[in-house]
Amino acid sequence: MIFVRDIMTRKLQTIAPGKTINQAAKKMTRFKIGSLIVIDHGKPIGIVTEGDVSRAVGRDVNSRRDAVSKIMSTRLITTTPGERLEDAAKIMAESSVKKLPVVEDGKLVGILTQTDIVASSFDLVTSLKEMVRARYRPPDFQP
């Protein structure tokens, strides 16, 4: 059994809702990450992704003046460290989000990304293939 905690990313950055879109973009670029969790008074209230920032540019939003709260997604679909990976993957595929913040006892502990899931499933297939190859050698060929 594989759980969310086994493959989630613990590197997590947050931002206050009143910061500008430009400040959010700077933070994403500096930390080389694709999303920031928006925290208000210690509580996660939304998520802002590189897609949100890019769409803001397409919509002529003023990135140096407008706040993150204007473009963030408040539909925060979360998961827990103890959730089975396949269930988290299902949620992600069905809700078409790229990131699931991981919450434990009301506290943010990490983030599960699309890349984490895709990479781990192909890793799993590769190791399973190797396992099968090592355990079941083909029978000797006898004419």
């Binding site: 993957a89 895709v118 781990s120």
Partner: protein, 142 residues
């Protein structure tokens, strides 16, 4: 993968490229020259970079923020190889080109998730099956 791929010329502005990505609901566009050959790729991440450097709203062309050394894939490559390439490079989009460098499509991590999630379910199911009731069955060789 996204077929046909969405392409732009290098002189399109960053703002227009971002708008196009928004309208088409995609995370990247391929930049082509006049002959249709791929010369670069622009992703949402590049647009974020341009926002952080205040390059938007100033008629700056995408050619100034695009990645020129573009990682690519061929149509006959396996999905696993394509995923490995994206993972190693830390990117989420991989242009698929023919042998002349003409873009045929765009493969994304989103596409890979659609394959990998049912695959994951299948693998985990097969592991469970293998472990549970047949533990004592001997495999007859030859």
């Amino acid at each position: 993968m996204e077929v046909p791929p969405i392409t732009v010329f290098g002189d399109v502005t960053i703002d227009d490229a971002a708008k196009l990505m928004w309208e088409k609901n995609i995370g990247s566009v391929i930049v082509v020259d006049m002959t249709g050959q791929m010369v670069g790729i622009v992703t949402e991440r590049d647009v974020v970079y341009s926002v952080s450097k205040s390059m938007t709203g100033r008629e700056i062309p995408v050619s100034s923020i695009m990645s020129k050394t573009v990682l690519r894939s061929s149509p006959n490559e396996s999905i696993a190889t394509a995923v490995e390439k994206m993972r190693n490079a830390g990117v989420r989009h991989l242009p698929v080109v023919d042998r002349h460098g003409k873009p045929l499509g765009m493969m994304s991590m989103r596409d890979a998730l659609e394959v990998s999630w049912p695959l994951l379910r299948l693998v985990l199911k097969s592991i469970k099956k293998r472990r549970a009731p047949h533990r004592d069955v001997k495999i007859r060789r030859g």
